[in-house]
Symmetry: C2
Subunit: 141 residues, 2 copies
């Protein structure tokens, strides 16, 4: 089974570029209402993922409450608490589940390391739910 079946493609995902600022991160996250978003290089490579919590603790540490100050902070200087490791587009479902155990979502990259989208835990749990029902029915459990 191909994991592309589960993909939310890049054009439906909010993301940041690594040369953007804390202000841009705040604006994008508040507007799009995602709790974590991927960071890409300008040539489309996946670089990492930043969360609302990362922004919160950075602002607390730096005592920032003003959007003017947030303009001067590069997102790449913000400490990221969690690592969101990507999977390759050719990974199998086991690799995907294995990664989803420890991450809120799984970024997907192609052969060149270019970001092509994400797979959410929501979609994975939905799939598991229907698959477990199907297998149980076949087995008569």
């Amino acid at each position: 089974m191909n994991i592309l079946f589960f993909l939310t493609p890049k054009n439906e995902v909010a993301y940041l570029f690594e040369d953007e600022t804390l202000r841009q991160a705040l604006e994008k996250m508040e507007f799009r209402k995602f709790s974590c978003i991927p960071i890409l290089s300008r040539d489309g490579k996946y670089t990492g993922t930043i969360s609302e919590g990362d922004l919160l603790w950075a602002m607390k540490r730096m005592s920032i409450s003003d959007m003017k100050d947030a303009e001067n902070v590069s997102i790449m200087t913000i400490l990221r608490r969690a690592t969101f490791k990507p999977v390759h587009v050719d990974s199998n479902i086991e690799d995907l589940l294995d990664r989803a155990i420890n991450q809120n979502f799984v970024p997907v990259v192609d052969d060149k390391g270019s970001f092509i989208g994400i797979i959410t835990r929501k979609v994975i749990i939905k799939y598991c739910y229907s698959e477990m029902k199907r297998l149980s029915a076949l087995k008569g459990e």
Copy 2:
């Protein structure tokens, strides 16, 4: 199958009381490193769940960067973006999966509505993973 099998009990979970402040929420969340934590009444009833994002947007809206100001904000006045519905301790695995599709974790309550712990998506995905393997092996798929 009993969902208690999946429970992280209350004594291992960080939580807030509904009469606590934004400052206390920040301190507890920063120290315990959870991205969302449940709110309880003083008599142990589950009231809701607050996330790092909720704190972030509240502080941005109120231009708070100082812990002194955060002391004067009750956590119950902070807008919560997501609803984390609890399941009853006697719920079945389908109810649990159904809820986990839309929530980062599932709070569990007893007959009296008292909070007894949470079930994380991590534990649910781990279970699905092993169950799918078991059923596939039985079926020879």
